[in-house]
């Protein structure tokens, strides 16, 4: 009962903060309430309070539609609550019961009229394929093949039709397996088993999804299995309310949906900051020493090694690692360099703060060194007090509070939605190496007298190419993620980019850059639109790791040349200020552009191409490619 009293007090505190006009504090407490008590009733409270705070918090608005064959309504408040807590202001439209085929096929349906950012297609095996479900034992092998074919075809058609009618993201639930196959243990002996029939259908749906941009599958069967089929299903609720999922499991479905919404809205963490003592290893290195800390393949050290394994997996998704630890540098480095149980080594970390300074200050410095926003950081710590301090000092940081039992550490990190990605580019996989090269560059820079000498020494090269199928994912990703050197901060899905590129008056370019220290990969995007007199820059952005070494000038100069080549008199573009793109503010005036107009959104700059052509920086060798830049 005391925990109930506590959440009651929290609710009162939240309402007091809202009444006092303190939205950030109210939001922090709403997050705390949700972590303590994440049920249906609390969800309704959390959603209603966040709705009162609308416009006062930096949440990303997002529109989600759900086309379905079963009752999902009770999941919606849970989803909206967890989304609000994650900084996503979700508006949800639920399609009519079992009307999903018409809604997808009819382009004037309420589904499309809602103009969703994303659509979830949630259809149960029992509903779309009763023959693969309760009637399976009646089927001859031929009929099984026909059923697989029919269901796969349905999904292919729906996915194709959806793509023709909408640019929204589509998330398709794959089919689930029955709790018990109809043939019992015999099923596993059969060549045409029920479970393999469902698996084959799923493989065909996955294949259909992969043939279209922005279509993803949700492995619903794996989700159900993770929490246990017997716990998941509630036959009684299915029969009386067409709700097949038990009350206790609804949260897991909403969390799984969130894992897609987080990368789709860009509310991801780009870097994970870890503690060392009692996190990456058990014990305190400064007291227990190299032989005393727990870190091995056996109990109890195995718990810490598993956590390191999961952390290492994150780097393969392009997530950077950093250390923030109160320790003596020498003690910590000895363990990092030479403890035989360590899976993570110093070269896995893009930044390190091992000292006795204030934790929040260290975290700020890490963000600055990695050149990413504080809101792109996640921090993992075993100490609840330090977690609370970081939440209070830096509410933008995602704090991962490790549970008491170290054996639960790895699972806690794996469940964290801020590390989810829906696509992966080559750049993502090499990101840590980029940062290590960057450290070498900064060290070299300090030995040169002038910037120009340093630029020449770098031997920079840049490849500019029009968008290709291979570079589409990365180009879209850059528009989604680049915040600092981004003139207009327009976010585009892959689908939208390919549609823009197909228009005759638009051009979409990417730029790759490399120098003597290494390859930066594909780091910049420019999108232009021609009108009669001028070439308008719709999007111009560069990843922060190359800004300030004149790659941006090379790209702009190229756009100018091309526009002049097409007979355009002017190159023009908007600067749309955001909280984060200050580094791009002076970009146009620095290159001779004149202010043309100004409104509430931003400033429009233009350059007369005849009078002020933009000089190409001589120290960059520019390659103009016709094809691949992937």
């Amino acid at each position: 009962m005391s925990s109930d009293d506590k959440t009651l007090d929290l609710r009162k505190e939240i309402d007091a903060f809202i009444a006092a006009g303190a939205p950030e504090k109210a939001s922090l407490r709403l997050g705390e309430l949700w972590r303590k008590q994440s049920g249906s009733a609390t969800a309704a409270f959390v959603v209603s309070r966040y709705e009162q705070l609308r416009g006062k918090l930096a949440s990303v608005p997002y529109r989600l539609a759900i086309a379905r064959s079963f009752t999902v309504e009770p999941t919606i408040p849970l989803l909206r609550a967890v989304a609000f807590v994650s900084g996503i202001d979700l508006t949800v439209h639920v399609g009519d019961f079992n009307a999903y085929p018409q809604e997808i096929l009819d382009e004037s349906s309420s589904l499309y009229r809602f103009s969703p950012d994303a659509v979830i297609l949630a259809v149960r095996t029992a509903d779309i394929a009763p023959d693969l479900w309760q009637e399976y034992s009646d089927l001859a092998p031929d009929a099984v093949r026909q059923a697989i074919h029919r269901v796969s075809n349905n999904f292919q058609q729906w996915i194709r039709a959806f793509r023709q009618r909408s640019q929204a993201t589509l998330i398709v639930h794959l089919l689930e397996q029955p709790t018990q196959p109809n043939a019992g243990v015999l099923d596993a002996q059969l060549e045409t088993s029920q479970s393999s029939a469902i698996r084959q259908t799923n493989a065909a749906i996955r294949q259909a999804a992969s043939e279209h941009r922005g279509v993803y599958v949700l492995d619903y069967d794996a989700l159900v299995a993770r929490y246990g089929r017997l716990n998941w299903r509630d036959e009684r609720k299915w029969l009386i309310a067409r709700m097949p999922i038990a009350a206790s499991q609804l949260n897991y479905l909403s969390q799984e949906w969130l894992r897609f919404l987080v990368p789709l809205t860009g509310k991801v963490a780009k870097a994970l900051v870890v503690d060392l003592d009692n996190t990456l290893w058990g014990g305190v290195i400064g007291e227990d020493g190299m032989n005393g800390i727990k870190l091995s393949a056996e109990y109890p050290g195995a718990a810490y090694q598993s956590l390191q394994r999961v952390t290492l997996d994150l780097t393969r998704r392009g997530i950077l690692l950093a250390i923030c630890s109160k320790n003596n540098l020498d003690d910590a480095m000895e363990a990092l360099n030479s403890h035989p149980g360590m899976l993570l080594r110093p070269n896995h970390f893009a930044a390190m703060r091992i000292n006795w300074n204030d934790k929040a200050q260290n975290v700020r410095e890490i963000a600055a060194e990695l050149n990413i926003g504080i809101d792109s950081l996640a921090l993992m710590d075993d100490n609840p007090v330090e977690c609370e301090q970081i939440r209070a000092a830096l509410p933008e940081v995602t704090v991962i509070e490790l549970p008491e039992d170290p054996l639960q550490y790895a699972a806690t990190l794996r469940e964290c939605p801020v590390f989810e990605r829906l696509t992966l580019s080559t750049e993502d996989q090499q990101r840590t190496a980029f940062y290590v090269e960057q450290r070498e560059r900064s060290q070299a820079e300090q030995t040169f007298q002038s910037k120009e000498d340093f630029y020449r020494y770098l031997e920079q090269e840049a490849d500019i190419a029009p968008v290709t199928p291979a570079s589409l994912a990365r180009i879209s990703q850059l528009t989604q993620k680049t915040n600092q050197f981004n003139l207009t901060t327009k976010r585009y899905t892959e689908q939208q980019i390919s549609e823009l590129a197909a228009r005759p008056d638009h051009e979409v370019f990417s730029i790759r850059a490399r120098d003597r220290f290494g390859d930066h990969g594909l780091v910049g995007v420019a999108i232009t639109r021609d009108n009669e007199e001028a070439c308008e820059i719709d999007t111009f952005l560069l990843s922060c790791r190359v800004i300030g070494r004149s790659v941006e000038t090379a790209l702009l100069s190229y756009l100018g040349q091309r526009a002049a080549g097409r007979g355009k008199k002017q190159l023009a573009g908007w600067f749309v200020p955001t909280k984060k793109n200050l580094p791009a503010k002076e970009f146009y005036p620095q290159h001779g552009f004149q202010l043309e107009s100004q409104n509430g959104d931003g400033l429009r700059w233009a350059l007369d191409l005849k009078e002020h052509p933009i000089a190409h920086p001589e120290w960059i060798k520019l390659n103009v490619m016709n094809g691949e830049n992937g």
Binding site: M1, D4, L8, G39, S40, A41, T42, A44, F45, S48, T71, E73, P74, P77, D234, R236, I240, A241, M243, A247, S248, L250
Partner: protein, 83 residues
């Protein structure tokens, strides 16, 4: 115990129907609480199942016509699981 369960049911209903718990009485029902529609009734059932860790039968859901009846159903479920 009775008043305790009443308080818990009240606080769940207060969250779901977005009204202060002081305004919820044993007589509160879909007739006098506007937000208490069929969707919210299902949400109420689910929230009770979560909070008290039991499953309600269709017959029990039918009986829950006002907050007083809800409390009775919850009490009988709890005493049934204890005995």
């Amino acid at each position: 115990m009775t008043s305790n369960i009443f308080e818990q049911v009240r606080s769940i209903a207060s969250d779901l129907f977005s009204i202060p718990s002081e305004r919820i009485t044993a007589e509160s029902s879909p007739e006098n609480i506007e937000a208490w529609d069929s969707t919210q009734h299902l949400n109420l059932v689910l929230a009770l199942e979560e909070a008290f860790d039991f499953q309600l039968s269709p017959e029990e859901m039918e009986k829950m016509r006002n907050i007083g009846e809800v409390v009775k159903v919850v009490e009988s479920k709890i005493s049934a699981t204890k005995s």
